[in-house]
C-alpha cells in the first residue's frame, strides 16, 4: 500500500529517506501533511467531579510522525544515558524516563511554550519536550560547560526558563507547591496560561501537595497537577504506599481525570481539556497511567520489586512508540522502512551528540563561585582552605 504511493511518482528517485511531501528539507522525512485524522484513545477517560472529554482525538500525519520521532529520540537518549552511566561518565543520580515518553510528547502537543511545566528529577525527556537540545542534556549529565546548567546542576536540575521549564527538582513533592506558585504568578500577571506540575505516585502522598492544592482551589489558580503514575515509588508499589491509589480522585473537591499515559493522543486530549478547565475553573488533577522500564534510578535494577514478565508484558502490550508506529502504518502515513530509518537516524544523532558532548570541557574552577547570588555585592566566599582559596562574588 505504501509502496504503491511511492511508485506512482515515477520521476522521484527511489530514495526511501525522501520526504512524503517534496517541500520539506531532505534530512528528515516528517510529513507536513496536516489533514485531520481522528483516532480513538486506547481506553475511555475516567473522570472525577467532571465530565470526561471525548475519546476521539483529532490529529494529523505530521503530528503522528513528530510524535514518533520525538519519542524515538527520547528513548534512544535515555538508553544512551544508561550506557554512559555504566561507563562512569555520568555520576551520582540518573533517573531514566524510557517508557513514559508519551506523557512528555502528548503534553507538548496540547500546550504552548508560554504554559509552564515543572517536574521532579526524572526530567531529561521533559526538558527535550520543552525545546532543550540533546547536547545540553548529555553535556549536563557529564558535568560539562555545554550543559543546560553549565555542568553545575546535574541530572536532576535541568531548566529552560525561556520556554517556561522550571526544572528539575530533587526533593520529592516540592515541585508541586512551586508549580502552583507558577500558576499563581500567571494569574497575577493575567497571562491566560497554565502550569503543569508533574509528580509521581510516590510524591502523591506528600502533605505539601494537599496544602498547595487547597490554596490553588481557594484562589482558582490555573494549576494542573499531573500524577505520572508508574506504579512504583522507588521500590514501593503503589498499593503499599497509598491507602487510595486512585490518584485522580485524591483531590476530593478538585476534579480529576485518569488517562492512559502510554497513549500520546490520550495524553494530548487530556492536557487540552485540562488547560481549558484550569483557565476557567481552577485546579484539576490528571493521573497518567504510565510505566518506566528502568528501575527508579541507575542504582536500582528495577527487578527486585517487580517481575521481568511484568516489564516485558508492558513493553509488548503498551509501549508508546509501538502504538504510534502501528497507527502510522495502519493509516499509511509512512512505510516500516521509513520508520526504521527514522530510528536509525535518531540513533546516529544521539551518538554524534555524545561525541560532541564529550569534547565539551568541564567548568572552569572559577565557576565554583559564580551564580551563588544573582547580585553578589562583592561579598567574599571561600574554598575548603579559606586561606588558600577565596573569591569575590560578582
Amino acid at each position: 500500500m505504501a509502496l504503491s504511493y511511492l511508485r506512482s511518482s515515477s520521476s522521484r528517485s527511489v530514495n526511501l529517506l525522501k520526504p512524503l511531501s517534496s517541500s520539506l528539507p531532505l534530512r528528515r522525512p516528517i510529513s507536513t501533511d496536516t489533514t485531520p485524522i481522528t483516532v480513538e484513545t486506547s481506553v475511555p477517560f475516567t473522570s472525577h467531579q467532571c465530565d470526561a472529554p471525548s475519546r476521539s482525538v483529532e490529529t494529523n500525519p505530521k503530528e503522528l510522525l513528530t510524535f514518533f520521532r520525538d519519542m524515538a529520540l527520547m528513548r534512544r537518549m535515555e538508553i544512551a544515558a544508561d550506557s554512559l552511566y555504566k561507563a562512569k561518565l555520568i555520576r551520582g543520580f540518573c533517573h531514566l524516563y524510557d517508557g513514559q515518553e508519551a506523557v512528555a510528547v502528548g503534553m507538548e502537543a496540547a500546550i504552548t511554550k508560554k504554559d509552564c511545566i515543572i517536574t521532579a528529577y526524572r526530567d531529561h525527556c521533559t526538558f527535550i519536550g520543552r525545546g532543550g537540545t540533546l547536547l545540553e542534556v548529555f553535556a549536563e549529565l557529564m558535568g560539562r560547560q555545554a550543559g543546560c546548567s553549565k555542568g553545575k546542576g546535574g541530572s536532576m536540575h535541568f531548566y529552560k526558563k525561556d520556554s517556561n521549564f522550571y526544572g528539575g527538582h530533587g526533593i520529592v513533592g516540592a515541585q508541586v507547591p512551586l508549580g502552583c506558585g507558577l500558576a499563581f504568578a500567571q494569574k497575577y500577571s493575567k497571562d491566560e496560561t497554565v502550569t503543569f506540575a508533574l509528580y509521581g505516585d510516590g510524591a502523591a502522598n506528600q502533605g505539601q501537595l494537599f496544602e498547595a492544592l487547597n490554596i490553588s482551589a481557594l484562589w482558582d489558580l490555573p494549576a494542573i497537577l499531573v500524577c505520572e503514575n508508574n506504579h512504583y515509588g522507588m521500590g514501593t508499589a503503589e498499593w503499599r504506599a497509598a491507602k487510595s491509589p486512585a490518584y485522580y480522585k485524591r483531590g476530593d473537591y478538585v476534579p480529576g481525570l485518569k488517562v492512559d499515559g502510554m497513549d500520546a493522543l490520550a495524553v494530548k486530549q487530556a492536557c487540552k481539556f485540562a488547560k481549558e478547565h484550569a483557565l476557567k475553573n481552577g485546579p484539576i488533577i490528571l493521573e497518567m497511567d504510565t510505566y518506566r522500564y528502568h528501575g527508579h534510578s541507575m542504582s536500582d535494577p528495577g527487578s527486585t520489586y517487580r517481575t521481568r514478565d511484568e516489564i516485558s508484558g508492558v513493553r509488548q502490550e503498551r509501549d508508546p512508540i509501538e502504538r504510534i508506529r502501528k497507527l502510522i502504518l495502519s493509516h499509511d502515513l509512512a512505510t516500516e522502512k521509513e520508520l526504521k530509518d527514522i530510528e536509525k537516524e535518531v540513533r546516529k544523532e544521539v551518538d554524534d551528540t555524545i561525541t560532541q558532548a564529550k569534547e565539551s570541557p568541564m567548568p572552569e574552577p572559577s565557576k565554583l563561585f559564580t551564580n551563588v547570588y544573582a547580585k553578589g555585592l562583592g561579598v567574599e566566599s571561600f574554598g575548603a582552605d579559606r586561606k588558600e582559596v577565596r573569591a569575590t562574588l560578582p
Binding site: 509552564c116 515543572i118 546548567s149 553549565k150 555542568g151 553545575k152 546542576g153 536540575h157 531548566y159 529552560k160 526558563k161 522550571y166 526544572g167 528539575g168 527538582h169 530533587g170 526533593i171 516540592a174 508541586v176 507547591p177 512551586l178 508549580g179 502552583c180 506558585g181 507558577l182 500558576a183 499563581f184 504568578a185 500567571q186 497575577y188 500577571s189 502533605g207 505539601q208 494537599f210 496544602e211 498547595a212 487547597n214 490554596i215 481557594l218 484562589w219 559564580t370 551564580n371 551563588v372 547570588y373 544573582a374 547580585k375 555585592l377 561579598v379 567574599e380 566566599s381 579559606r386 586561606k387
Partner: protein, 362 residues
Amino acid sequence: MLGIARQKMLEQSSKKIRPAVSMLRNYSSAAKEMTVRTALNSALDEEMSADSKVFLMGEEVGEYQGAYKITKGLLDKYGPERVLDTPITEAGFTGIAVGAAYYGLKPVVEFMTFNFSMQAIDHIINSAAKSNYMSAGQISVPIVFRGPNGAAAGVGAQHSQCYAAWYATCPGLKVLTPYNSEDARGLLKAAIRDPDPVVFLENELLYGESFPISDEVLDSSFCLPIGKAKIERKGKHVTIAAYSKMVGYSLKAAEILEKDGIDAEVINLRSIRPLDRSTINDSVRKTNRLVTVEEAFPQHGVGAEICACVVEESFAYLDAPVERIAGADVPMPYAANLERMAVPQVEDIVRAAKRACYRSVP
C-alpha cells in the same frame, strides 16, 4: 486597630512616657521618631507602591491587619490580589511563593514567627537559596521571608528560637537582622529590591520601640546596603558585636562600662549573611578585645563564626580571648525567673567586657 490609635493619642498627649524624647518635641526642629512597626509598615507600603510585582502573603496579613500589625492598612490600600491571607500551611504557601518568584514576581512572605518557618525550610533552602546556582543563573528567586525571630516574653520553648545561625549557614541566602527603625526601613526596602532570597529576622519586642529617624530615612528611596554593619557607638577599649535586640542591650552595657573607664565600641551587625567581616576585624584591630552577643543558642552560632573569623584574620591583634554571650543552652523555660536566666542581660555583657579587659569583676 483601635488600640494603636488610642496608643498614638496617648503618646501625643502625654509628656510622661519618654521624658527625653518629649523634650525634643518642644523644639521646632524636633527629631522625628518612629516605631519599628511603623518603619516596617511604611517600607512595605512604599515598595508595593513602587513595584506592582511586589505582593504579600502570610497568615493574618490581610483582614486581621497582621498578627503584629506590621501589614496594617495594606489590604485596604492594595486589595486582596496583592495582600493574601493564607491557610495555616507553611510548606504549601511558602512553596507557592517561591514558585511565583521563579516566574518573576516579588513575594514578601510573612512567617508569624520564624519557628514556623521550619515547616517550610525545605523551600527556603532547597527551592529558593540554591536555585540560582543549580540553574547556572537561569532561575533567580527575588523573595523575602520576614517575621519575628528569637525570644519574646513568656512564649515558651517552641516559640522562642532564633534562626539567624541556621539560615546564615546556607550559601545563596541573605540574612538580615534590623535593630532600630532606620534599620527596619532601610534593610526591608533593600531586601525587597534584592534579586536574591532574603531572610529578614525581626524581633517582636522591638516592634513597639520608638527610635529617632532623620528625613533621609523617611524618603521613599532610602535604602541601606546589604552586608554592611554599623558602628552604633565608637569606642577604643573593647568591641561588642551584636544583632537585633542585643544591640540595645549592648548600648546600655556600654553606658555602664563608661563609668568604669571602659570605652566600648558597639557594632550593630545588621547583616548576618553576608557578614561584615572587615568592619568587625577593623574594630578588633583597634580595640584588641571582642565580646560577641546574641540571644540565640550558643553552639555553632553567630558568635562562634565571628570568633573564628577574628582569630583567622586578626589573631595577632587580640589581647584577650574572645568572649561569647549567648542565650542559655536550654530550651526556653516559661517561669519568669528562669526565662530571665535563659537570655542575656545587660549585666552579662558588662561582665564579659570587663573580663575581656582583664578587669576584676566584683
